[in-house]
Symmetry: D2
Subunit: 147 residues, 4 copies
Amino acid sequence: MSMNPYMRDHAFYLPIRVYYEDTDAGGIVYHSNYLNFCERARTEWLRHLGNGRDWLREEFGLIFVVRRATIDWRKPARLDDLLLVETRMTKLGKVRMHMQQTISREGVTLATVEIELVCIDHAKFAPVELPESLLAHLPPLPRDLTR
Amino acid sequence: MSMNPYMRDHAFYLPIRVYYEDTDAGGIVYHSNYLNFCERARTEWLRHLGNGRDWLREEFGLIFVVRRATIDWRKPARLDDLLLVETRMTKLGKVRMHMQQTISREGVTLATVEIELVCIDHAKFAPVELPESLLAHLPPLPRDLTR
Amino acid sequence: MSMNPYMRDHAFYLPIRVYYEDTDAGGIVYHSNYLNFCERARTEWLRHLGNGRDWLREEFGLIFVVRRATIDWRKPARLDDLLLVETRMTKLGKVRMHMQQTISREGVTLATVEIELVCIDHAKFAPVELPESLLAHLPPLPRDLTR
Amino acid sequence: MSMNPYMRDHAFYLPIRVYYEDTDAGGIVYHSNYLNFCERARTEWLRHLGNGRDWLREEFGLIFVVRRATIDWRKPARLDDLLLVETRMTKLGKVRMHMQQTISREGVTLATVEIELVCIDHAKFAPVELPESLLAHLPPLPRDLTR
């Protein structure tokens, strides 16, 4: 499997290798690190759309902050595993974005993460509406779009 | 405020100081580190009950693994903050334990975490019933006990 | 042993408990985390002197950055260990401060760290001389003071 | 620049992207994370030689542990930087391996790390001689080979 990210059916796929720093004395990936992997994947997804966080911050003065997450840990990931993080936007509101992320190893789901992000004005640290010019860069959404 | 943990009304309180390692370039505590703080608090809670994880592992061959969590990040924690993590058992099943944890700063709630833990046989890495002799060491539960 | 920090013979002592997040799949504390423990100890040392980093930053616009370190890992620390970090200033230059830090468990040295810090003007991110009014707050130095 | 690792002149090069989790409230990469980047690079170097840590552990019962490191932090790395870690073996003893690692961004050196690793019998956690059959897989060394 290549280590390079790719897009397929409007979902974004990022391979991530597990290193010692990711594991704990239980011999498995430390539970909160799945959120780190997901954040890496969302970052690369934005970059893959052609415009990274720099662009968001410099062009619009915006950042996305994580407001809420639900994580299901189903099976443990281990040292040296090559994981695949699938990232998919599921809902887009005026100031909020919902994403579903899945971490798998060779086709087996290890964890699923539901994330709610809020668009924040970086200077005021207050929620702000997603600008139309940003929306144009986002991938198409599934049917349940509620905006 | 003291840095020492304490128990009050069947909830356990652990003060945690925020260091550089906990923060990110957004100037706030990195979102997944709230889960780390919660895990520290559950560990100290077990130790405070008079028996740490060592005892669980050596006496019963058991460990608790995090199966599911929902996290609400309401306000950011910052460098040098002295946080207080409140830990409370909310439900106790045959193999599962539910906990509610709240992270606050000077009485203001910054984040809430709902955690579901599963009791695992360490050798087989399979779920196992909580032994009666362990239950005797746990604090009383609220009314909604469902065991 | 108490979990509270203390000063003795011009050295500062901070107890640190090892949690799952600090360990790796080798069953021991991940090697770079010793640097995190040392940074926590230097932070608490500054706070113990009566003035934390806030004061440095707000009063003088200064921060200390780590410029160089040599670390000897002698014996592994493990999950649930209660470590003691000893912090001692060994040399004080015009813009630099040298510190020696030792991490031990029940009197046995696990790691030693030699650290060189540089005083930086926070706005310009450039080295700057330590102000006299700050020096007044530092503990006495050993003989080999070279300022 | 590609994200894929490569070998050139007996040195190994691993590109590493900086994410939020790597940074701190100072707006730069947290100092100890450079050691994490170096450990990732040594891991990928072993994998690139055709045999990962699994092979070392399963075939020989060996692991390498970090015994000593000297780190020079020259310039800060920042969020979203694409770093390049250069890894080079500089000396090979009977039980020890010395490596030099450099972290750079667009040709500018940000940090250098000198690492001493010790070959350990995994079961006994005691130093052991590097087996001849392992040495055959290592890249040629510079002149100052001292074995």
